[in-house]
């Protein structure tokens, strides 16, 4: 279906890469960029305020870009000024000028430049480095304030901006308010140019279908995004236009297309009631709206089809009423029907979510649509409230590019700014490395409690430095990161006259992703049992054994492997996990960031469990050099227990609201079986709810099919799997990733 539209989209984006043989589109993009760079270089001579420089770029982009309209789609969003496969930070957009020009200057002049350079050892350049992070800012994982845009339109924002500027006596804030105003005018101008383009295209001979879509664009672009949407189609158009265009204007990744079944429900129902829309037409609009991301990112052949593009479904509205309606069903069904990978389906749920909703997800999953995460509102919402978020705002959370928690219109939570390998810290603590002076290493603890306390103190010392360094880095880089258009869609920025990067938004917390909790807990248990309880080995001998990668100590390794494990029915190990997470979370949450907010932890990992594992030496739990470590908040990968209920029951013993809204993800591989029905899936999710399991990332797979798909890819072209934070066609993945997925424990349901 939609093959002609897909062809149009594919043809366009195939030219939007440097590798393309046909250079016309890239020549256009380069020409626009070069022209704007030249004009900005001139403008920079008279204007120095970064926000006004940025908004000036927006004005120039609005004038010089060439609208691209796909004549078989009623949506308008493509400026062709971003590279095809990028997300989060774009090479091509003229918005990059601010970074290009200001980065070298601040870098050279900033008194802390030397400090940052010296501090680079904490990052992943080192072969055993326990920390990975963006070298500047987390430029991805943003969400627009869609609710605000739906209520006010850009004209509403302009009114508030002008109103605030009028009242503003503090002259310092006026430039930023002026920049927001200029950006808002620019984005409206961009939309008008799409309307003009559609009108121009209509002058040529067109098919009836093309005429219909082009007329829709001609009559809508301009009014959208200026005014609030008044129909279902306009709502979809508002989301896609603002998401795509603001990302290009600001040079940031906007990972969320919004909580669509909440945002669009009223418009849909009104249209249906007024006879303006049928369900079939709504399905068609949804399909055309969703399918472009997969084509753009070429998911059929892409071995890492990350598009950082999600929609949120289900959960509740700001008053706590369950969200599940016709649109929830239409989005899921159309996504499945088209065999899409993107947008990712981030599904919120709670005990008030209806059975029908969860069975719908279960049915799609069992039929091979491995595209879902199920996010437990009863963990995320109270977690956010624990971090000071107003309950109504907390209920409006969304998740993206994978499952990073964001508050819609509530600022930027830097969902994936820093990843820290906790077993990596334990490794360096046990075997001090001169490259990591912040981890003083082991003294001579006489009891396990002493050992644990020393370890925790070293983690604290390391993380404190990471945060200090990060704060300096952030304040250093945000100068080139002014985003007046994005900020205008965040509650608080207009009234405070302050950019979100400078703390203007209502909420300002940042996230640190902790990787390898399970491996750390199992390793601590191993030290406790082997060294302090059984006396099977001394601490210094254990260090030698780890350095030897357990070689020559197979019996001891077997003993280590047979000890109690986290997520494996051991109260002792689960209690230690709870103790460690609580302490880490409290320590992290008490640390301030550079925007006046705090840090919060998360236990989602993307694919960093594999990245860090490859650099991690042998660990006390019996794991060998380079072996995989635990994923998310799940069990270690050094043992296989086919009993799915054990990790789920463990979730009830750890309070994941300690993460203050940061997501914690449990991956599970369910075996495809005739007995795995939507009803069983519903019961499983209900049990997860009762057990306070945070976020569930399921795969329903057949091990035999995965193995066969690796050998005979041509027979399994439609096989979709969840990797970690993203899904993909299994046969497009690299053999290494395929093997890692095949090796995952597939839980037993039959004997």
């Amino acid at each position: 279906m939609y093959s002609m539209l897909k062809e149009q989209i594919s043809d366009h984006y195939s030219k939007l890469t440097e590798e393309s043989v046909d250079k016309t589109l890239m020549s256009y993009a380069h020409a626009v960029r070069d022209r704007i760079y030249r004009e900005m270089d001139e403008y920079y001579k008279e204007e120095k305020h970064p926000a006004l420089l940025k908004s000036r770029i927006h004005t120039l982009m609005a004038e010089y870009f060439e609208p691209k309209i796909f004549s078989l789609s009623p949506f308008f969003f493509e400026m062709s000024l971003r590279d095809r496969f990028s997300w989060g930070l774009f090479e091509l957009t003229p918005a990059r000028w601010l970074r290009e020009r200001l980065y070298p200057e601040v870098n050279k002049e900033h008194p802390l430049a030397k400090f940052l350079e010296d501090a680079s050892f904490i990052y992943f350049q080192s072969e055993v480095g326990p920390c990975a992070c963006h070298d500047t800012l987390d430029t991805d994982h943003h969400t627009l304030g869609y609710t605000m845009l739906f209520e006010e339109g850009i004209e509403g924002l302009l009114l508030r901006i002008r109103d605030t500027a009028e009242k503003e006596k503090d002259g310092d804030k006026l430039p930023f308010l002026k920049a927001m105003e200029e950006s808002c005018v620019a984005i409206c101008r961009i939309a008008e140019r799409f309307s003009d383009k559609a009108a121009e295209m209509l002058k040529k001979e067109r098919t009836p279908e093309e005429k219909k879509y082009l007329a829709m664009i001609r009559d809508t672009a301009g009014r959208i995004p200026k005014s609030p949407p008044s129909t279902f189609y306009e709502g979809l158009a508002m989301i896609l236009f603002t998401r795509e265009v603001i990302a290009t204007l600001e040079n940031i990744g906007i990972s969320q297309l919004g909580h669509v079944d909440r945002l669009l429900e009223k418009l849909y129902l009104d249209d249906i009631a007024a006879g303006r829309l049928t369900e079939t037409e709504a399905r068609d609009l949804i399909a055309r709206w969703m399918l472009y991301t997969d084509v753009k990112f070429d998911t059929e052949h892409n071995d890492w089809p990350e598009a950082s593009t999600c929609i949120q479904l289900g959960g509740c509205d700001e008053n706590g009423n369950a969200v599940y309606n016709e649109l929830t069903r239409l989005f899921i069904e159309e996504h499945k029907k088209a065999g899409l990978i993107n947008p990712k389906l981030n599904c919120r749920y709670s005990d008030s979510s209806p059975d029908e909703y969860l069975k719908l997800i279960g049915k799609a999953l069992i039929e091979g649509h491995n595209n879902f995460v199920l996010i437990n509102d009863n963990i995320i919402v109270p977690g956010l409230v624990r971090n000071g978020v107003d309950i109504k705002d907390a209920r409006r959370f969304v998740s993206g590019g994978c499952q990073e928690t964001m508050i819609e219109g509530g600022g930027h939570t830097e969902g994936a700014g820093v990843y820290v390998s906790v077993p990596g810290l334990l490794d360096i603590f046990m075997r001090p490395d001169e490259r990591f002076p912040l981890i003083p290493g082991i003294k001579e603890p006489k009891t396990f409690d002493e050992f644990y306390n020393e370890f925790f103190a070293s983690v604290k010392s390391y993380l404190t430095f990471v945060f200090e360094q990060r704060n300096v880095r952030q304040s250093f880089h945000k100068v080139w990161h002014y985003c007046p258009m994005f900020s205008a869609t965040q509650y608080g920025c207009i009234e405070r006259g302050t950019d979100y990067s400078f703390g203007g938004a209502k909420y300002n917390f940042s996230t640190v992703a902790l990787v390898g909790l399970g491996t750390t807990v199992d390793s601590l248990i191993a030290v406790k049992k082997l060294v302090y309880e059984k006396g099977a080995v001394s601490l210094s001998k254990l260090k030698e054994i780890l350095a030897a990668n357990w070689q020559g100590y197979e019996e001891l390794r077997r003993e280590a492997l047979s000890l109690p494990k986290y997520c494996n029915g051991s109260d002792e190990a689960d209690a230690l996990a709870s103790r460690l997470l609580d302490a880490l979370a409290d320590m992290i949450a008490s640390t301030k960031n550079e925007r006046g907010g705090n840090y919060i932890p998360s236990l989602f990992v993307y694919y960093y469990f594999e990245y860090f594992a490859g650099r991690l030496r042998a660990t006390p739990d019996g794991r060998r050099n380079g072996d995989l470590i635990s994923m998310g908040c799940g069990p270690s990968r050094t043992f296989t227990d086919p009993d799915i209920t054990k990790p789920l029951v463990t979730m009830s013993k750890v309070d994941f609201t300690a993460c203050r809204g940061g997501s914690a993800v449990l991956d599970i591989q369910l075996p495809l079986s005739k007995d795995l029905t939507p009803e069983i899936f519903l019961s499983l999710v209900r049990a997860c709810g009762e057990l306070r399991c945070p976020t569930l990332q399921p795969n329903a797979v057949s091990s035999e099919e995965l193995i066969d798909a690796k050998k005979n890819p041509e027979r399994h072209k439609n096989l979709i799997v969840r990797i970690s934070g993203l899904s993909a066609y299994f046969t497009a993945l690299t053999p290494k990733v395929q093997d890692e997925i095949i090796e995952r424990t597939v839980y037993n349901v039959q004997k």
């Binding site: 077997r558 009993d643 799915i644 029951v649 049990a687 009762e690 839980y747 037993n748 349901v749």
Partner: protein, 287 residues
Amino acid sequence: MFRSNHTEEKHIGTLFDIQHFSIGNGPGIRTTVFFKGCNLSCAWCHNPESQSFKAQMMFHKSKCTGCGKCKEVCENNLEKCTLCGRCTAFCPSGAREICGKEYTVSEVFEELMKDFVFYKTSGGGITFSGGECMLQIDFLDEILKECKKNGLNTAIDTAGNVSYDFFKRILPHTDLFLYDVKCLDSKKHKRYTGQENELILENLKKLLKADKRVWIRIPVITSVNDTEDEMRGIKACLDACGSPEKVELLPYHAIGEHKYGAIGKAVQKFSVPSEEKMKKLRKVFLQ
């Protein structure tokens, strides 16, 4: 963690597995307790390790790395097994495994209660299977009572080849019976299972009159009972006996084939019935 207050502990049971999140053995999400020992020896049995009443050594050849550690630590040079467990503890790849372990009622019950929430959300519970769980009737009776005392749904998966007195004992504590029917011809039954089927069918008649939920399960084995005539016969027999709540046709699968080698037993191979054939056979019961 749930602690059992069951204090009597009169009986000990020998089990070979306790499977959590079991979704093919009765309604909802269940835990299935596999008892060791059976008085049938079905040629297609997919759990051949369930047939012996005693614990036994299993050697999974495909997992063996040939390191020789087992031989090194065995006091009998691997020639005579006393089930001491040394070789299993030292085997680096899990190729050696002792199948069968003794449990008290409390031990099993604590394990069952860990998944209480799954039974609650799914309408599931506990299924006692085997082997033939009724052949450890004292232990079974005791644990069934404990389950009912704590409000758990219970199911018995049985081949029915035991005295009906055993049924009588457990009827008050059992919510559902999963009752196997293999074939009607007693001689054929004996050829493939080692036992005739008169007692099994007699028990089934009585059970169906006992006002209990009964699901009939028919393993469909190629060249043994995979004909519409056979199914029609079974249906007529069931119609005459009473009315089971459900009839399930379970196609033969070869998942347990490798386990025959692991316990040193010859495997009899059957082909897997086609989906098309299964549809035809299922249709018989819909008429």
